[in-house]
């Protein structure tokens, strides 16, 4: 943005060197995201560094608090400054998610499938960028990162296929002893707070977000604290994929700071604790119980995301509505 891209342009190189050397405070000056790999090009062009911001309500705002924090790779080298969301950003994200819910849950399952497939298309188009970011964030080889990105793309396609099948599988026409036609249909729970996996920055994130929105929920996602950059780039993909603004809201920052506010929030209907800090999980469940939230507990260790999932995560954020309709005879 303006302050980063223009005013900071001239001393860009100097700043970047400083960032790497002494871990500059980052602070409130707003130059939130100088990537390490945007080094000066050989042809003398000035590097265009990317500012990593939040993704809320279809827009890319900075944190209202003005805070950023340093993101490093697994070896401690500076990658970029990411926005450090505050409780008010979480609050705004929940408002955006709630606003998006009627339209997204009311869309036909077929339409949601199309949109999810579109996300896969857009992700495919930016494959190289994601491979680079995942490799940098997770400290894995390019080959491993490629496999992860491919799996993430396939995951979107997999869940896109499920959107119009899930009600057939989880719903039913119930045999009842009376003059009624009785049927059960699964309906989305509402706004879901998702604490994304901490290790798998892209595949893990996609594996928890896609099933939530596939069934018509909207969500507020707290991205991996140490590896948030692929999540922000995924936000850019979502913003250009016909996904209505507010269906997915991505926050970067401290999970321990944001999670309690989401867990206690009266307008959040469910909570996925997948990437919740260990020491906080019981407290979060307790807080969620106050407002009778649906809670998906965190697995003991982060699962192997490359394995083909089942529909457990789809089922976790669905409510079953049963209708008794008089047959009239």
């Amino acid at each position: 943005m303006g302050r980063n891209g223009n005013s900071g342009r001239n001393d860009e190189n100097a700043k970047q060197g400083k960032n790497v050397r002494d871990g500059e405070r980052g602070g409130h000056t707003g130059h939130a995201g100088h990537t390490g790999h945007a080094a000066p090009a050989a042809d003398g062009r000035l590097p265009v560094a990317k500012t990593y911001k939040l993704y809320v309500g279809g827009a890319f705002p900075r944190s209202e608090s003005g805070r950023v924090y340093q993101v490093t790779d697994t070896k401690g080298r500076f990658l970029a400054n990411a926005a450090q969301a505050s409780r008010k950003d979480a609050r705004d994200a929940v408002v955006a998610a709630r606003k998006a819910f009627p339209k997204w849950s009311g869309a036909t399952a077929y339409n949601r499938g199309q949109v999810l497939y579109r996300v896969a298309e857009m992700l495919e188009g930016r494959r190289e960028q994601f491979v680079a970011e995942v490799a940098a964030a997770e400290g894995v080889s390019t080959k491993r990162a490629q496999a992860d990105v491919d799996a993430a793309i396939d995951r979107w396609v997999w869940y896109a296929g499920w959107t119009d099948k899930v009600s057939t599988v989880l719903g039913a026409a119930n045999p009842v002893a009376g003059p009624y036609f009785c049927f059960s249909v699964p309906e989305p729970t509402g706004v879901v707070g998702v604490l994304a996996p901490r290790a798998s920055s892209l595949l893990g994130l996609v594996s928890v977000v896609a099933p939530v929105i596939a069934t018509g929920n909207t969500c507020v996602v707290v991205a991996s604290e140490e590896r948030p950059l692929p999540a922000v780039t995924l936000g850019e993909v979502l913003a250009t994929s016909d996904l209505p603004g507010g269906v997915v809201n991505l926050l970067t920052g401290r999970a321990a700071e944001l999670a309690p506010w989401l867990a206690a929030h009266g307008d959040v209907n469910a909570l996925d604790l997948c990437g919740a800090p260990e020491g906080l999980r019981a407290d979060l469940e307790r807080a969620a119980a106050d407002t009778v939230k649906r809670v998906v507990r965190a697995p003991a260790a982060e699962p192997d995301w490359t394995r083909q999932p089942d529909i457990g995560r789809l089922r976790a954020f669905l409510e079953t509505k049963t209708v008794w309709h008089p047959t009239g005879v």
């Binding site: 609050r91 929940v94 709630r98 506010w261 206690a264 929030h265 009266g266 307008d267 959040v268 807080a287 106050d290």
Partner: protein, 335 residues
Amino acid sequence: MGVPSTTASAVSTASAAGAVSAQLPAHLADAIRDDAALRRFLHGLPGVDQVGLEQRAAGLATRSVKKAAKLWAIDTAIRMVDLTTLEGADTPGKVRSLCAKARRPDPERPEAPGVAAVCVYPDLVEVAVAELAGTGVGVASVATAFPSGRSSRQVKLADTRLAVEAGATEVDMVIDRGAFLSGRYGEVFEEIVAVRAACGDAHLKVILETGELATYDNVRRASWLALLAGADFVKTSTGKVSPAATLPVTHLMLGAVRDWHAQTGEARGVKPAGGIRTTKDAVRYLVAVHEVAGPRWLDPHLFRFGASSLLNDLLMQRRTQLEGRYSGPDYVTVD
């Protein structure tokens, strides 16, 4: 309405105007002597510094109100709400449920204050009066061919009487913007005086519909015109025209009632209406009231909010303040 009562209202109009002028200081009494004097007075009012006004309004809107002060502001704002339903689809049932909400906005927290009044169309006043008897919550009724004000004097006065006879304690009238904008100030003045007389003991709020007055100068003139004619409140808008209430316009009207108080010793009220939906907005208005008019105006007798969805947001924020976590629309009634 027959001929005799028309005559009677004309007489009472004259006497009401006489009563108004009797209490006024000389220069204001002189202003309402005749049409020409009124025009001279209104056009002699100082022009509004648009840039300064908007800057001041925006500057005060950045003031941060937190913690105990915020809770106080929320409770004060709730007590100032005129809970409004002015739809063609209003039914007695809807008015009854609105009255229930007005009596006890947050049933889970009975200590939450009630609102100032319920605002409905004249034909539903009876329903609201029956529901709110003995609760201290007022019943306001719009009148005078709301919202356009396009009808004859007889119809407007009959409309007002209908509301008052049904038991309305407050009447929200609209001015004839067509007459005002074409410079027929005397006509507007007489009409307000006549409605004032028809109101009897009921409080009169005069809706200026600032969204149709085009300039700040006009808003200032209309405010003074209404105050001279005996309005207990000046109200910004009907809520049917966009833009409705804005902060600068409310600043201007608060300034007018402050000046009126300085010159006559009488405290008159202001009611912004329309477009105020969030607690944040409401708090900004309260800051304006405190800074422009004075702390005395932080009182439901002198400042009101005309709103419907605002109350739910105030209740949610109240819970957020008390419970230490964010609340949601599932926890307040839908109206």
